[in-house]
């Protein structure tokens, strides 16, 4: 590739043609401030805080969208550039609410950090403060247009990474806001509530609906028996909130923290991930033996489920009827568990710790009441749990390693890998292979479905059957696979879809990070959990085996259908008002 030589702050640098000034400056150790820029997703040069001086240019140039040119001389820290950036930042701050101390993004806000970095000590302009209503229509995400700086990062993620387009710029000029078409509440739009907009937002304009107060109240109530489940992806990410690197495996500390917060039992969603494999694997075999419908899609990811309901309702019968592990857990925690423990199911409160905002919505779906109660009472994101741990004054990093409680805390490596893209597929293959062939699977790692590539494929020979599988993560990637299925260009049997890029490790409820390799590291953490567990196949989980013996009797049996399977709803891609028209 052609190279370009230029000078940045007196240092000569050679970079490939097409490189932006922002990227080139990094090579000489200069970090130009940015705000609307999001690597690989949003580069529109709208916030103007990355302005630099280019010798010979008539105006200052935005570094994030200006390509380098041969012989260019760039000054990233000239008085003119610095003044312009400060001025633009002051203008952005001129109508921004002064609510840092009570903002959910306090200390994780990029605008706040930038104001500090650029030494803003005074905002010379006072614009009228906007006064829009909060949109707390959904149980998942809150929109606060008053704090929005119109950077459009959420818009870009929603459109490009997820292919949903639920939030867009509305109106213009001072009246511009970002939100769903017709200014409708998020809950009424064709939004999947995945929360990728939340993790893209630099400020506090989009954040998770907080249920920590409800959980504190349940914990303080002596009449409630409060049990908690932790999703697989939480244990490799929560450490980031306490200064540990992404991917650090903190399972034992997580359990210890939850116990110290006062949960009566600390259980694991990985247990019901194993159970999901038994039910979903049996369902796949049933479909293979009884003529379909195939391909079968996985059903663990509530964002994917809502997406399919809005955008591809014609595929509903292709989705596994299995509830997600979170909901299987909820249904058992209010039936099987109290029966075993000899407690009143009405006294049980179920809390989930999830890397996900869509899980909050899933828990409140009307279908999720098969125990006779709302199966899962409260869903906290990884971030909310981290806040509770901080509030309680626990020093997370120095907590001892503790074990989950029996019986819903026992799990295998197969359950663990649900937390990353490809994991459900790999776990399913480990079990389906052994059920069908009655032989031990030679080598457990299904490498073709691992990694961060958007769409992955594999062919697995099971006895005399050749199973064709596909894995996609991020809904724009999912859509590619779905379109190929609809156009009969693919003959897969089984397809795993995870709504968020990377799978749950990259979920909308995870710690917010701008580290490039965070997803990769969290994924490595997940596979480490798998490697380190003594049992790595779901059907070998002794607690799951006992559950079938004592309670469920058989996969896809009567009790399973009642508690562990569900139905889906036809929705409109144009929002709920178009559903009954």
């Amino acid at each position: 590739m052609a190279e370009v030589t230029l000078t940045i702050d007196g240092q000569q640098v050679k970079v490939p043609k097409g490189t932006t000034i922002l990227q080139a400056a990094r090579q000489v150790g200069r970090e130009i401030p940015t705000l609307c820029y999001l690597e690989g997703i949003n580069a529109i040069g709208s916030c103007r805080v990355c302005l630099v001086e280019v010798q010979g240019a008539k105006t200052l140039m935005p570094a994030c969208v200006t390509e380098v040119a041969e012989g260019m001389t760039v000054l990233t820290n000239s008085p003119a550039a610095r003044r312009a950036r400060q001025l633009n930042l002051e203008l952005i701050l001129s109508d921004h609410p002064d609510e840092c101390t009570t903002c959910p993004r306090n200390q994780s806000c990029e605008l706040q950090a930038l104001a500090e970095k650029m030494n803003i000590r005074e905002v010379r302009f006072r614009g009228p403060r906007p006064n829009y209503a909060l949109d707390a229509s959904s149980p998942s995400i809150v929109r606060d247009p008053n704090k929005c700086i119109l950077c459009r990062r959420c818009v870009a993620v929603c459109e490009q990474v997820q292919g949903v387009g639920a939030v867009v710029p509305l109106e213009r000029g001072y009246r511009t806001t970002i939100g769903p078409a017709f200014h409708e509440p998020l809950l009424e739009a064709a939004c999947v509530l995945c929360g990728q907009c939340v993790v893209a937002c630099p400020v506090g304009a989009l954040y998770e609906r907080d249920y920590t107060e409800e959980v504190w109240a349940a914990l303080a109530d002596p009449n409630r028996h409060v049990v908690v489940q932790t999703a697989p992806a939480v244990r490799v990410a929560i450490g980031e909130e306490f200064g540990l690197p992404p991917g650090a495996v903190t399972t034992g500390k997580l359990v210890a923290a939850l116990r110290r917060l006062g949960f009566d039992r600390v259980f694991d969603t990985n247990f019901t991930a194993d159970l999901t494999i038994i039910e979903e694997g049996s369902e796949l075999l049933h479909r293979l033996q009884n003529g379909g419908p195939l391909p079968m899609f996985t059903s663990c990811s509530p964002g994917w489920i809502k997406y399919m309901e809005h955008f591809y309702p014609e595929l509903i019968e292709h989705i596994s009827t299995c509830k997600s592990p979170q909901q299987m857990f909820g249904a058992l925690a209010k039936t099987y568990y109290p029966q075993q423990a000899g407690i009143d199911p009405a006294a049980v409160t179920v809390v989930s710790i999830m890397p996900c905002t869509a899980k909050k919505y899933e828990a409140q779906r009307p279908e999720m009441n098969s125990s006779g109660f709302q199966d899962v009472d409260y869903v906290l994101t990884t971030r909310e749990l981290a806040r509770m741990i901080k509030t309680a004054g626990l020093d997370f990093a120095s907590l001892p390693e503790e074990e989950y409680d029996d019986p819903l805390g026992i799990s295998t490596g197969a359950g663990a890998i649900f937390g990353t893209t490809g994991g459900v597929m790999e776990a399913a293959v480990r079990t389906v292979y052994e059920i069908v062939t009655k032989n031990e699977l030679p080598g457990l790692d299904l490498l073709p479905v691992r990694g961060l590539e958007g769409v992955k494929e594999a062919t697995v020979t099971i006895g005399d059957t050749t199973l064709k599988v596909a894995v996609a993560h991020g809904l724009a990637n999912a859509r590619k696979v779905v379109e190929r299925v609809l156009n009969k260009e693919a003959d897969y049997h089984f397809i795993e879809i995870m709504c968020c890029p990377g799978g749950c490790i990259g979920g909308g409820g995870q710690p917010i990070t701008r580290l490039d390799d965070a997803k990769q590291k969290r994924m490595e953490g997940i596979y480490q959990v798998d490697r380190d567990l003594p049992i790595r196949k779901s059907h070998e989980n002794p607690a799951v085996q006992k559950l079938y013996e004592d309670f469920l009797k058989e996969p896809l049996g009567h009790k399973s259908h009642e508690l562990l399977h569900t139905t889906y709803k036809v929705r409109s891609r144009f929002g709920s008002v178009m559903e009954h028209v």
């Binding site: 387009g165 509305l170 891609r573 178009m578 028209v581």
Partner: protein, 164 residues
């Protein structure tokens, strides 16, 4: 989806035809919006949904464009469309008083229509007749050097014609 929500049945075939010409072509969005508004008079939700469906874009993208340009309207406009100029010259020479008087006489705010469907009121930027400022137009008629006190009389004439 029922097609007749608040719209006359007979516009749908033509609407379908316009959209069909640009099926799957997101770059034709503004052009399609123009033609559909010409046909229907405004762009209600069901028309925007049809356009989103046909051009294969999200409803948000359609509504984002509709709400950006003041030329596009999501509400039915009156039989008589009153446009008051708020360009610099008209503004300086009192168009705000003209607008306020119109709002008072009609009982609506700029951007709205009267319940009887007779009048709609909107603000525009420069009609190119600054020498006659303040200026307003009612459909194709232009009124220059408008005094607020002349408003009731002007409206009376349209009311009489509109009811007849």
């Amino acid at each position: 989806m029922s097609k007749s929500v608040g719209l006359q049945e007979e516009v749908w075939p033509e609407l379908e035809r316009i959209i069909q010409e640009h099926r799957g072509d997101r770059s034709a969005l503004i052009q399609v919006l123009h033609r559909c508004q010409e046909l229907v008079g405004y762009l209600p939700r069901e028309v925007q949904v049809k356009i989103a469906e046909g051009l294969e874009v999200s409803l948000g993208e359609v509504y984002g464009v509709v709400s950006f340009y003041s030329l596009f309207s999501t509400k039915p406009r009156g039989k008589y469309r009153i446009s008051v100029c708020k360009g610099t010259a008209c503004y300086v020479r009192g168009s705000m008083e003209v607008l306020e008087r119109l709002e008072k006489e009609l009982g609506i705010k700029a951007g709205d229509s009267t319940d009887d469907g007779l009048f709609s009121l909107e603000v525009v930027r420069c009609l190119g007749a600054c020498g006659l400022s303040p200026v307003m137009t009612i459909n194709d008629n232009t009124y220059g050097l408008v005094k607020p006190d002349a408003i009731p009389q002007i409206l009376r004439a349209y009311r009489a014609a509109g009811v007849a």
